[in-house]
């Protein structure tokens, strides 16, 4: 193949221009990342108050019953449901923080505290952002993060991306599903509340609209440690109350700002870092990744322009082939 110098330079320049365009449009600008998503005004959520939790695990059992989940056996005698963490058989667990002599509840040193782990129902969830086929969705009204196995292809990007490690895949079956808390949306459809809140004897887990949960958090923040206060069970406004002295809360309410906020909020007497909660920034990870994607592929304009340049350059190269046949 011979290519004369003029054509070569012209072609190389054209191709170079096409590549340069590609390079320019493919360098993402962080400034163009989208902001965090906003909470729906009708969002519902849960509040877990570690200081009220007595570690009875009624919520774990209640959840399993409501969601038809099997026991998760981890002891040699295999007598009890003993989940060590959330998993494909367990949507929520109660864990224990203990330090030193573990004598005092809700105290960081020589104390203990209970922790609840389940789906945080993020306002701007990574799992929904990454799902290639819309199997993981966020309800526009309630904000519940739900899963549809009939659409899911099982790529497990949701499992890999969740900053809380919540969605769990099954590996021991040829027909695996992703398993996670969906805030008992099947019960909510029947006018009921999530099972974990329904069965909690101390109101450590309560359910309600986020607006009411925020008011309740403000009320508890204003409480004086040791003074008697009224706490509700099941839902905010249930009227089912008990009285007990308020604990010393730490100022941080987990889920207010983490990754753009979550609809499951946690209050505690011990720092969340000690309790094993991940320390997360305010900007959602979904907004960063989508920002890059949208910068590059918005309306497919940039790829179309680049393709035009590439096809033009390739056409040019094939013309040169025609003009200068093989020797």
């Amino acid at each position: 193949m011979t290519v004369n110098r003029r054509n070569f330079i012209k072609g190389a320049a054209g191709g170079g221009a096409a590549l340069a365009t590609a390079a320019v449009v493919s360098v993402p600008s962080p400034a163009q990342a989208r902001p965090n998503k906003e909470m729906s005004p009708n969002a519902v959520g849960l509040l877990f108050d570690s200081t009220l939790c007595v570690g009875c695990k009624a919520c774990v059992a209640g959840c399993k019953e409501a969601n038809g989940l099997p026991v998760d056996v981890n002891t040699s005698d295999a007598l009890w449901d003993t989940p060590l963490d959330i998993g494909p058989k367990t949507y929520n667990v109660i864990k224990l923080y203990a330090d030193g002599t573990a004598d005092h509840k809700d105290q960081e040193r020589d104390g203990f505290a209970f922790i609840k782990k389940s789906c945080m129902h993020c306002v701007d969830p990574s799992c929904v952002s990454v799902c290639p086929v819309s199997a993981m969705t966020k309800d526009a009204k309630t904000g519940i993060v739900g899963y549809n196995p009939d659409i899911c292809i099982g790529c497990r990007y949701c499992v890999a991306s969740c900053p809380f490690g919540v969605p769990q895949s099954e590996f021991d079956t040829p027909v695996p599903k992703i398993k996670k808390c969906e805030m008992c949306r099947h019960r909510q459809a029947e006018g009921k509340i999530p099972a974990c809140a329904e069965v909690c004897p101390t109101g450590a887990t309560i359910f309600g609209p986020l607006t009411a949960i925020n008011e309740e958090i403000a009320r508890r923040r204003a409480m004086k440690a040791g003074e008697a206060n009224v706490f509700e069970r099941r839902t905010i406004g249930s009227g089912d109350t008990h009285e007990r002295p308020a604990a010393q809360y730490i100022d941080h309410v987990y889920g207010e700002t983490e990754v753009g906020g979550t609809q499951f909020r946690h209050m505690a007497g011990v720092s969340f870092e000690k309790l094993g909660y991940p320390n997360l920034r305010e900007k959602s990870f979904a907004s960063e990744s989508e920002g890059i994607q949208h910068t590059l592929y918005k309306g497919l304009i940039a790829p179309a322009v680049v393709l035009g340049g590439l096809v033009w350059a390739a056409k040019r190269a094939s013309h040169i082939d025609d003009e200068h046949p093989e020797e």
Binding site: G11, P28, S134, I151, I153, L296, L310
Partner: protein
């Protein structure tokens, strides 16, 4: 119109050899294990867990495997977009390796999907989730596999003497060549973007918003390196003279060198801007992996530093191997070593999992050998009759 019949020729010779037999056996073992996975589930064959939901079937077969298969892409940029016709002889062998690399990568994704029978949902408009990097990767890879086979089709059409069809295809081939550059640019960069959403779960030596740029640059360089690697390996494996190709391979080495200098400047510049240079020394095993990776990336810069060195088969071979290892390690590190999923989780591939990956590589080698012997893939050059004869009898 160019004479299109004599440019490339099948190498001929027997398909049956020790190499092809071993490759065949390894590929068969993989097929048996994949059947087991289909019947019993992923857990029966792999060590995947909910802390490490992606293992080597994703990281090697797809993320690394498709980067190894970037030869066709890199050569298309050079030959057709930058219009450097001198590289023409290297295009078709590179394209063939890309065809198999991508096709088998695509097939292995299906076996990794938990609910593979729903895989077609990617193409259903109502389900498409355009915010998802995975969606873009899936669509681009599927489209590119198709484009690769269309780009390679002239070899198959020539083999079966479908000259009429071949001439028709030649008229529109430039459109597919354009797509064949756009699509890998999109998904090779997006393979890096896949990790951005994982945020703090990816160690700071690897997590950066410029992951797409770093993945794209390393993929193109790996593409050039695999062309050098395959040309030299093919030369020794098929006892084929490579002397006509050495000048072009040397120029590729020069390009690899410049791209690696740029890559390392950007990589370290990014670490400096993000204030994580200190992490290079304070991250335990991750520091070791990072340094090893950078050393491998930097080796070709030294090895390819003069035209004389770039004309040496030995230097070309070692440099290309280092870069391929570097690119592979970069991807392995970013996806698995740097992935910190929380306490209590660990992952190392099971023997069965490894055997599937090995079987897929074996299948690629086997198919490559069959194709270069039966289809016009290698450029004839001005091979002496003796050299050609030698190649044919091998």
């Amino acid at each position: 119109m160019a004479s299109i019949h004599n440019e490339h020729e099948p190498l001929g010779g027997s398909i049956l050899s020790k190499t092809t037999l071993i490759c065949g056996i390894l590929a068969f073992i993989a097929v048996v294990l994949l059947a087991k996975r289909m019947i019993l589930g992923l857990g029966a064959v792999t060590n995947l867990n909910n802390g490490y939901p992606w293992g080597i079937w994703i990281v090697y077969d797809v993320v690394i495997g498709t980067a190894f298969a970037c030869g066709g892409y890199a050569m298309a940029i050079l030959t057709y977009i930058l219009n450097k016709g001198e590289y023409h002889p290297l295009v078709r062998p590179a394209l063939l390796a890309s065809c198999f690399g991508y096709t088998l990568g695509g097939i292995s994704i299906v076996f990794d999907l938990g609910r593979w029978w729903n895989a077609w949902h990617i193409l259903v408009p109502a389900y498409m989730q355009t915010n998802s990097v995975m969606f873009e990767v899936a669509l681009c890879v599927m489209a590119y596999i198709l484009v690769l086979w269309i780009e390679f089709a002239p070899a198959i059409l020539t083999r079966f003497h479908l000259t009429h069809l071949r001439k028709k295809l030649d008229k529109v081939l430039f459109v597919f060549i354009g797509l064949g550059v756009l699509l890998p640019s999109m998904h090779q960069s997006s393979l890096g973007t896949l990790l951005v959403v994982m945020g703090y779960q990816i160690h700071e030596l690897w997590q950066t918003p410029i992951l797409p740029l770093l993945f794209l640059m390393s993929a193109i360089t790996m593409g050039f390196s695999i062309v050098v690697f395959e040309a030299l390996l093919g030369a020794s494996g098929f006892q084929r003279s490579v002397k006509h190709e050495i000048p072009q391979l040397g120029k590729l080495a020069g390009i690899i060198r410049m791209m690696m200098i740029a890559y390392l400047v950007i990589r370290f510049g990014d670490l400096a801007v993000r204030g994580h240079l200190g992490a290079i020394f304070s991250s335990g095993i991750k520091s070791v992996m990072f340094v090893l990776e950078i050393a491998l990336f930097a080796t070709p810069i030294v090895l390819f530093s003069s035209a004389q060195k770039r004309a040496s088969k030995k230097f070309l071979w070692i440099g290309a191997c280092c870069l391929l290892l570097a690119g592979a390690l970069y991807r392995l590190d970013a996806f698995l070593v740097a992935y910190q999923t929380g306490p209590g989780w660990s992952y190392f591939p099971s023997v069965q999992e490894l055997l599937v990956t090995i079987g897929i590589i074996a299948a690629e080698i086997l198919l490559y050998i069959v194709f270069v012997r039966k289809f016009p893939v290698f450029y004839t050059h001005k091979l002496t009759p003796a050299e050609l004869a030698a190649a044919h009898t091998k």
